[in-house]
C-alpha cells in the first residue's frame, strides 16, 4: 500500500487503459448526479459516488470488487474516484464544504474523529453488514481499530485493511557485517542503535549506507514513526483533559531516543532524505539503508525496485525495538468504509449492501493485496495461502499489538507541529525540551480554536 504522503500534494487517477476510460465515463455520467440534490433519481436505479486513496494493490482491488458488485446489481451505478493518500482527507473536507462530497468513501482511521465531530458520517446498521449484534462485531476486530470505528456504541466505519508497521531488515547487509538477522534482530533500543551503527558505511562525511533511516519528508510519516516511540517510552499525545503532553518527561525521552540514531550512533543522515523526492522506502529498497520502518511491503513493490532482493528474498520484517526492556510496539492504522450522513436513505442502503459484498471475500482480498492484512480477525487467517506467506506471523502480530495514531479533530495541526519539531531537533540541533514545549503549545492552541 502506498503510504507516501507529502503535504498538500495533489494526485488523481492513474491512467491504465481501460480503467481510465471507465473512470472518465463514470465521472462524466455520474458527475452531475453526484452534485445534484439527492433523492430525485429514478426509483429503481441508484447512482453512488465512492472515493478512495491510491495504492497500487488496494485501490485496484476495491475497484474490482465494486465492478463485480455492479455486474450483480445492474440497477446500481458507482462512480469510483481516487486521490493520493495525503490528499484524500482534504478532498473530502472540501467536498463536504462544497456539497460535492461522495456518498461513500474510505476514511483513514485517524480522520474518523473529524467526521464524527461534525456529524458527517452516518452510523452503520451492522446487521445489514452481516453481524447479528454489536458484540459479534466488536469481537471480530482488534481493540485498537474499534476505538476509531465506533462511538457511543454505534459503528461508524466498516473496517477494511488494518496493519502495523514493522522493522524491515536487509538480511544480506546483516550477514555482511557479521550479524545474524534472526538472533541479532534488534528488539531493544540499545541494540537497535548499535546494530544500526554497525551497518553504517561512510566515506568522509558522505553516507554510502545508513544503518537505519527515518522518513523525514511528510508529517504523516513523522507521526507514524514517533507514535510508537512515544507510547513505548510511557508517554501519550494528550492527557485526559485534552492537553497535549508530548513535552513531558516521557515525550522528551522519546524524542531523545529518536534523535539518538543519528546523533549518538551516527547511523542516519537526516538532511539527505528530506531534500529529495519523497518515497521513503526507496532508500531501503535500493539498499542505501539497511533497516527501515514500514507498513507491510508487497512483493511486487520490491520486485519493481530491486529484483535481486525480491528473487533472493534477503529481507525480513521484525517487530519494533522495545524501550526499557519492554516488547516493542508498532504503530497501526487502518481504513474504514464509511457513509456520508447527508446521502439519502436509499443510497445509504445501497452502500451497506455494497460494503458487505466488498468485504465478503477475504481470500480474494489477500490474493490481490497481500501482505496487507484486513482488520477482521475471523475466517481468513487459517487459510493455507495466508499461512504460507513469509513472516505472516510477524505481520499479524504487529497488527494485533500495535497502538493506533492519536485520534483528534486537530490531527493535521498536531502532525504539522510534531513534524516541525522533529525537523528542528534533527536538522538544526535544537534543544529537545524547548522544541517540544513549543509544539505542545501549538497543539493546545489548535485544540482551543478547533472551531476557528
Amino acid at each position: 500500500m502506498d503510504n507516501t504522503e507529502s503535504k498538500l500534494r495533489v494526485r488523481g487517477a492513474r491512467s491504465k487503459g481501460v480503467s481510465r476510460r471507465d473512470a472518465l465515463a463514470l465521472i462524466g455520467a455520474a458527475g452531475a448526479a453526484a452534485v445534484a440534490s439527492p433523492a430525485l433519481g429514478q426509483a429503481s436505479r441508484v447512482n453512488l459516488s465512492f472515493w478512495t486513496f491510491e495504492n497500487p494493490q488496494q485501490r485496484p482491488w476495491l475497484h474490482k470488487r465494486v465492478r463485480q458488485y455492479m455486474e450483480k446489481n445492474p440497477n446500481v451505478n458507482v462512480e469510483f474516484q481516487w486521490f493520493t493518500f495525503a490528499d484524500l482527507g482534504k478532498k473530502i473536507s472540501v467536498g463536504y464544504a462544497t456539497g460535492t462530497a461522495p456518498d461513500g468513501f474510505v476514511s483513514q482511521d485517524w480522520l474518523m474523529p473529524t467526521w464524527q465531530a461534525k456529524g458527517l458520517i452516518a452510523p452503520l446498521d451492522i446487521q445489514k453488514l452481516g453481524y447479528n449484534s454489536y458484540k459479534d462485531f466488536s469481537d471480530d476486530f482488534p481493540e485498537a481499530f474499534l476505538a476509531g470505528a465506533t462511538k457511543d456504541g454505534k459503528v461508524y466505519g466498516f473496517p477494511t485493511w488494518f496493519y502495523g508497521f514493522l522493522n524491515y531488515l536487509n538480511t544480506k547487509h546483516f550477514a555482511s557485517v557479521g550479524l545474524d538477522p534472526e538472533r541479532d534482530a534488534p528488539l531493544s533500543w540499545e541494540k537497535f542503535g548499535e546494530v544500526a551503527k554497525k551497518l553504517t558505511i561512510k566515506e568522509g562525511n558522505r553516507f554510502v549506507r545508513q544503518g537505519f533511516k527515518f522518513a523525514m519528508h511528510a508529517p504523516q510519516w513523522t507521526m507514524v514513526q514517533f507514535n510508537p516511540i512515544l507510547v513505548g517510552a510511557g508517554g501519550s499525545w494528550f492527557d485526559a483533559s485534552g492537553k497535549c503532553t508530548i513535552n513531558n518527561a516521557a515525550g522528551v525521552k522519546a524524542m531523545k531516543l529518536r534523535a539518538s540514531i543519528a546523533k549518538e550512533y551516527g547511523a542516519e543522515d537526516p538532511a539527505e532524505s528530506i531534500a529529495t523526492n519523497p518515497l521513503p522506502q526507496m532508500d531501503w529498497l535500493k539498499e542505501r539503508a539497511s533497516m527501515f520502518w514500514c507498513h507491510p511491503i508487497p512483493p511486487p513493490a520490491i520486485q519493481s525496485q530491486n529484483t535481486a532482493m525480491a528473487s533472493e528474498h534477503y529481507y525480513r520484517p521484525v517487530q519494533y525495538a522495545g524501550i526499557d526492556g519492554k516488547p516493542g510496539i508498532s504503530t497501526t492504522y487502518g481504513f474504514n468504509l464509511v457513509i456520508n450522513a447527508r446521502a439519502p436513505a436509499e443510497k445509504q442502503a445501497a452502500l451497506h449492501d455494497l460494503y458487505k459484498f466488498i468485504m465478503s471475500d477475504a481470500e480474494d482480498c489477500w490474493n490481490d493485496t497481500q501482505p496487507f492484512p484486513i482488520a477482521r480477525k475471523s475466517g481468513w487467517t487459517n487459510n493455507p495461502k495466508v499461512q504460507s506467506f513469509p513472516q505472516i506471523a510477524e505481520i499479524l502480530k504487529a497488527r494485533d499489538q500495535g497502538v493506533f495514531l492519536p485520534r483528534t479533530p486537530v490531527y493535521n495541526e498536531l502532525a504539522d507541529a510534531v513534524h516541525r519539531a522533529v525537523q528542528r531537533v534533527m536538522l538544526n540541533g535544537a534543544d529537545i525540551q524547548a522544541t517540544l514545549n513549543e509544539a505542545a503549545a501549538e497543539v493546545d492552541r489548535a485544540t482551543a480554536n478547533a472551531r476557528g
Partner: protein
Amino acid sequence: MTTIPSDEVAASRWQLTGWKRTLGLVLLLAFTIAFIIPILWMLTMSFQAGDKMFQLGTEWIPSVWHPENYPNALSRAAFPNYFLNSGVVSLVVMAGNLVFCTLAGYGLAKFRFPGDSIVLLLILSTLMLPLEVTLVPTFLIIHNFGWMNTYQGLVGPLLIDAFGVFLMRQSMLSIPNDYIEAARIDGAGEIRILLQIILPQCIPALAVLAIISFRDSWDQFLWPLTVVSSDTYRTFPLGLVQFGEDYGNPPSEQLAIAVLATIPVFLLFLVFQRSINRGFGLSGLK
C-alpha cells in the same frame, strides 16, 4: 529623454578594445554558461538513469543514454492530458489578456472620461491583489459559479491581468494622436481605428504580453491545485509534483517531464523573438 542613440555612436561609445574586449567576452561567456547550468543539467540528466543523480561526479555527456525516460515518464500518469489541459488554459488566458488588456489599455491611453484617473488607479492597484492573497474567496466564488473542475474555473481568475493593461497603455501612449484624429474626421468607427491604426503599431507590445501571459498561465500551480480535484482537468505542474509519490518513478523521469514542459514556452519565444525584443525595447542591441 531626448534622442535614442544611433547604433554607430552607441557602439563606438561602449566598445571595449583590445584585451579588455577579449576579457569581457570571456567573462561574459563564462558567466552565461554558469547561469544556464541548471537547464543544461536538467537536459542531460533527463536522459540518464535516476541513480546517477547523486553520484560523486556529474556526467555531462551521458555514458549510457536512456531516451526511454521520456515515454516512460509520460505514461506514469495522464501527462498527455495534463499538457493538453495546460495548453488549453494557457492559450485561452493569453487570448483573454491580448483582447481585454488591449481594449482597456487603449481606453485609458487615448480617451478622457470622468473618473479615468481613478479607473487607472483601481486597475493598477489590483497588482496588489494576486491570487495568493484572494485565494480563499476566489475559490468560494468559483465554487458558487459551479466551476470547480472545469476549464472555466481554471481560466476564470487568470483571464485579465492588470500588468497587461499597464503594458498596453504604456505602449499606446506614444502613438501620435494625429492618426487617430484624422481617422475620426474621416468618419472611421472606433473599432476600426483600434484594429487598423492602433493595433499594427502595438505588435511588439502584444508580443511581449502574449509570451508573458502564456508563460504565467503555463506556470500556474496554486490555482489549479485549489480548483481541480478530478484527473481530467489536472494541469502538468500538478502532475509533476505528484510524480515522485509512486513506487519506482526515478527522478530523471521527472526531469524528462520538466524538459517537455519547458519546450512550448521556449518555442513560443523563439518564434516571436524579434517582435518580443522590439517590444522590450531591445532593438538597439546588436
